[in-house]
Amino acid sequence: MLDRLISTTSTTQATYAMVLAGGRGSRLGQLTDNRAKPAVPFGGKFRIIDFVLSNCVNSGIRRIGVATQYKAQSLIQHLKGGWGFLDGRFGEFVDVLPAQQRLEDHWYRGTSDAVYQNLDLLRRSGPELVLVLAGDHIYKMDYGQLIAAHLRNSADMTVACLETSICEAQAFGVMGIDEDRRIIRFKEKPASPDPIPGRPDTALVSMGIYIFSAPFLYEQLARDAADAESSHDFGKDLIPYAVPRFRVSPIRSPKAASARRTGATSARSMPTGRLTWSSPGRRLISTSTIGAGRSGLSRNSWRRRSSRGWRMAPA
């Protein structure tokens, strides 16, 4: 209860949600010939992206950017017609962020590049936290709890995770954890997923939902953008880079025990199970590779900051 109280006061208002809706997607076959996957109709009168946007608004996050690229017209039309109710005059919006070759001569090269190329907009909004979401997932979740867990840990980054069976885990980003339930490895679609210690048939997989403290994200994006080897993807590059360099301590939320993710992204059934939250906590040993000396904002400094910026009319 306390978690939710913390989050509803001002934290979610200081969060910018970046919804990644530019991917091509292949598993829906010809349904995505003319539209991006997030724009595929779903459930009578909705489209797939409505689920993520609803989750945001219902969690109190009302500053939302939707990064689009592939066959975006249908999606943009839907956002305009269905999600135009937030009022920019109060600093609330669903912004369409099309790839526009803003920095160099290329479109969005990957998920993290899509955020990097919009860094100027992010900085201008000045959020404390950035929530990174996929536009093609169907699930219900209160991001406020995730944000509260992130703040409680003074974390730089938090990854939402699910427990799933080992064989299903091969299709996802798998967290390798040690006996103390700290994440020590992160592998995208591994042939042999790391099991949870003591439970050889279960693995911990990433849901592709990340929350970052904004300065940390900016740092990481700049580093990743400068890396010529990187494919500029959160799951493939940015997270695997960050995980071994931080002390990672997963947190379980009993309240979220029934959270489920279902299968818009895969023809196969998605894993269901207990939701676990994993947070890279404070750096155990300071590393020089990532801007030295700054771990996550402490709760107090965060509160101070949020009382300055991001003011909104009380709910």
């Binding site: 076959g29 349904l31 010939d33 459930g43 009578g44 009168k45 023809a267």
Partner: protein, 96 residues
């Protein structure tokens, strides 16, 4: 109409709908039977049409008397059939 999710604007005239999802503004004309199917917005189904385990994409007009989802061999030639035997009909496949 049984066990179905029907959105606003749908018009079903003497048709039968079982275990299906009808998006906005779908119309189904006389004597057509739709089962285990998903009809995207603005789909028009003609008369005497039979659909089983079919997804029909937005704005398709299904001509009178069409049967889909019964003879998968035939459906593979003219439409797209998934591994699990669900037929997908797009407007381009109907020449529209």
């Amino acid at each position: 109409m049984t066990d179905s999710l029907v959105s606003s604007g749908c018009l079903v005239t003497e048709g039968t709908v079982w275990r299906s999802v009808l998006f906005s503004n779908v119309s189904i004309a006389e004597h057509s039977v739709v089962e285990d199917s998903v009809l995207f917005p603005d789909v028009e189904i003609g008369r005497h049409v039979r659909l089983r385990r079919v997804i029909v994409d937005k704005r398709c007009r299904i001509p009178d008397g069409l049967r889909a989802g019964f003879d998968l061999k035939l459906d593979r030639r003219r439409f797209q059939v998934s591994e699990t035997g669900v037929t997908l009909i797009m407007s381009t496949m109907l020449g529209q």
